[in-house]
Amino acid sequence: MSHGSIIKVPFGPQHPALKEPENFLFEVDGEIVVDVKPRLGYNHRGIEKAFELRTYIQNIYLAERICGICSDAHTTCYTQAIEELLNVELPPRARYIRVIIAELERIHSHALWVGIAAHEIGFDTLFMYVWRDRETVLDLFEMISGNRIHYAMNTIGGVRRDIHAAMVPKIIKGLDFLEERLKYYLRIVQTEQTILKRTVGVGILKPKDAVNLCAVGPTLRASGIKNDVRSDDPYAAYDEIPFNVITHSGCDILSRTLVRCEEMLESIKIIRYALDSMPEGIIRVQVPKKVPQGEVVSRVEAPRGELIHYAKSNGTTKPERYKVRSPTLANIPALCKMLLGGYVADIPIVLAGIDPCFACMDRMAFVDIKQNKKWVWTMQQLRRKYAKE
């Protein structure tokens, strides 16, 4: 219903969807969104500049910290870029371990998303259950790497930790539990009215728009377009592992949910296959510290879609230029399209629908101005601060 006058409504920067900062300025006519202007950058940390000032080894840890959810996707993309510049062949076992970690990460990231999406539509029971089960993956990560989120598994020339034979039965047990739960959640998503009423026909992104606006990942695949870096431009051991690229053609939030739910089940199959056929041998090779002059484009299918890094080296121990484009940035134009013509009440779930990760997206320029002084804290000051809290 039109009220004949347009009202501007700011949304954010405090937590418009996930617990991360982002600002959207909406123009609404009654209940209908007629214009959207995104404003990014609240999470700028100057990471691209920081890459130029650090050595290739230090940059592994910097890449890990671009994002707190898909940390492994960023280091995979970074290390394979530098390996290509160095012309290093990865040991076969390391390639399989990278796949296993990447798929475990996809499960935990998608599970996190399903929880958030459920929360956005007021279905908090599902949110609690999914997040409880997600702990299984985090426990597996802790067993393999010692950490729940920043696993720090990748290094230039391989991986830092092996998956020992004793771990395999535990991983399989965790996957069996997850598979049963995820099948149950998939059934709920397909049949439960609480979900269907809020997701069917909401946040429409037509295939043509998805292509023109260069959408990526589950957002693109939920508009029926079969693009996945793992199968189109295989890296690690994906060219040796059979798997399906999941697509749905509903173009709405329900399709995006189904794509992610089914991808988790697909990830379980990939991990089982990889554990089964993982070759024996070394897990990393030694690499030189200086990287010869060159440039490379490296791509990975992160949980949120195509992740692309560009590296240019100048023959020293530090890169000349390092560029990161995370999948969330690629999906922002598509997101604005989805919101247009929709209801104000659907904004949160549509926003959450692309699974935005603002920390990833806002990596480059400079800092949070007001927080600037805190940035140059010493370790000692940091310890004191956290000891008090």
């Binding site: 023109n212 189109d232 480059m364 320029a365």
Partner: protein, 157 residues
């Protein structure tokens, strides 16, 4: 590599003297260097004729006197074509490609913010990544701005 070679041959035929050089560093990767003035017709050819429909991102690189702008396009999500050109820092103007690829809108703004390339006819080049009060003409990813300059700017109230 058959498909890659085929694309390179087509590029050579179409671009002629506007092509500076082209390389295939590995499977599914093509780098092509074009002349600045040929940008619009080259992009139209890549997107419409060669079906490089997906723009992954635009990278800006500071070369000293010039800024290199690289368009990372992909064909069916698989073959990456990185088309590049150089603009002088004194006059960093190139036409926008947003009318051809609407998805380029934020990538162009990002390069504008951080490296100061002006995309002519772009619908909105207001700051995207940098704060509102960021001084005009300071482009943090240019090499002449060192960390200490940027720290001075961010600590000013």
């Amino acid at each position: 590599m058959e498909k890659e070679n085929e694309i390179v041959e087509k590029l050579k035929d179409f671009l002629k003297e506007n092509l500076v050089n082209v390389t295939i560093p590995k499977k599914r990767r093509i780098f092509v260097y074009i002349k600045k003035d040929a940008l619009e017709e080259a992009m139209e050819y890549f997107v419409k004729d060669l079906k490089f429909k997906h723009l992954s991102t635009i990278t800006g690189v500071d070369l000293g006197e010039e800024i290199e702008v690289i368009y990372h396009l992909s064909y069916k999500g698989s073959i990456m074509l990185s088309a590049r050109l150089a603009v002088s820092k004194k006059n960093p103007n190139i036409p926008t490609i947003t009318d051809l690829i609407p998805g380029a809108v934020l990538y162009e703004r990002e390069v504008h913010d951080l490296l100061g390339v002006d995309f002519e006819r772009h619908p909105d080049l207001s700051p995207l990544m940098l704060p509102e009060k960021w001084p005009k003409g300071v482009y943090p990813l240019r090499k002449e701005y060192q960390l200490k300059h940027l720290r001075e700017i961010t600590s000013e109230k």
